[in-house]
Assembly symmetry: C2
Homo-oligomer: 202 residues x 2
Amino acid sequence: MATRTDAPTRREQILKEAARLFAERGFHGVGVDEIGAAVGISGPGLYRHFAGKDAMLAELLVGISGQLLTGARRRVAEADGEPAGRDPGRVLDSLIEGHIDFALDDRPLITLHDRELDRLRDTDRKLVRQLQRQYVELWVGVVREVYPDLAEPTARSAVHSVFGLLNSTPHLGRPGSLPGRGVTAGLLHRMARGAFAAAGSE
Amino acid sequence: MATRTDAPTRREQILKEAARLFAERGFHGVGVDEIGAAVGISGPGLYRHFAGKDAMLAELLVGISGQLLTGARRRVAEADGEPAGRDPGRVLDSLIEGHIDFALDDRPLITLHDRELDRLRDTDRKLVRQLQRQYVELWVGVVREVYPDLAEPTARSAVHSVFGLLNSTPHLGRPGSLPGRGVTAGLLHRMARGAFAAAGSE
DNA sequence: TCACCTTGTTAATGAGCGTTAACGCATTTC
DNA sequence: GAAATGCGTTAACGCTCATTAACAAGGTGA
């Protein structure tokens, strides 16, 4: 895995600031002038990099969904390749860990993810929905390996609920006021496992 | 408790439809004409009942927060009055039950609750925040009675996370596609307890 | 019957905002 | 060195939309 050390491109700067602003005040609550100001250029200057405000949101949401799905698939594949054979419990732990990393590192994006989906053009929205659905179904499969008694609709509800739990990080206060990243991650992880376990014992 | 059977007032109709529309497309995504149309009058006609669009949102959010807090306080008080003495576990169950009822019965409001708070005038926002904080602290107190080893910041994080879990109902699909209200409520309740239990065993 | 309040209506106003136009200036490319 | 290209700028356009103005009709009470 190549860690990038080069400076972020202008496009990336814009996307990052737009994500933050959209998460803070909503898509309609942010003007292009503000996004421009956040990266040191004027509002219309953004149009050299994006077709419009919608395009920024679309790229953000598609990017998020794709990243989540790709990461999850990688984790499942890694588990399948382990010498000791696939351990469903450890795969689930890995999925949880990945989602928590994302929720803690990209809190603005997590917020956008389930808040501004309706603002997308039809074609983009369908794409994002499809990626999200695949992500969910991947989780559902793993969860049902760990808890075979769980019916599929129940497992799906449980997965959505655990997403709600993990995605609660934006409500946990400013990053500074948290008890430390590792501690928070550990707490969320234990709670997610506890929630699944309770769902599994129906 | 008097169950009201009289017809809803125009104000109430408006608030209900506004809540639904705001939840669906966001505060800025809904025009006053749409809200008016939803109750059979014209956009400006709304101004006979509300000072403005902001006022509708404010009344909704203050109402939600107040209702949640009042209901929770009532449940705690009822538990204190029980002949067998106060059982913290049962109080927690009662709080969870109340929150689930609300999340299932008023899904649009739950969505608004953590999505559009920033759109309020300063004074209203402070009021809502204060009510929310009191609600959270009430939960934190009960949770720490059930799990005395839990440090206060941890308990608070756990409470926020469980709110995230319980408030996930809007993502669980259309009301029709759910496995039935009782089943869903039971699942959410078990998961919440499981999550708290896992948080408590640090 | 007349005044008045309630609850509507449609038309006009005015601000905000996404987008496009027209232009400037480095830097690269041939 | 000239042309093209990348990346900005400011000004202007046009649309949406919350809000207000002006007016109408039904009901109620003196």
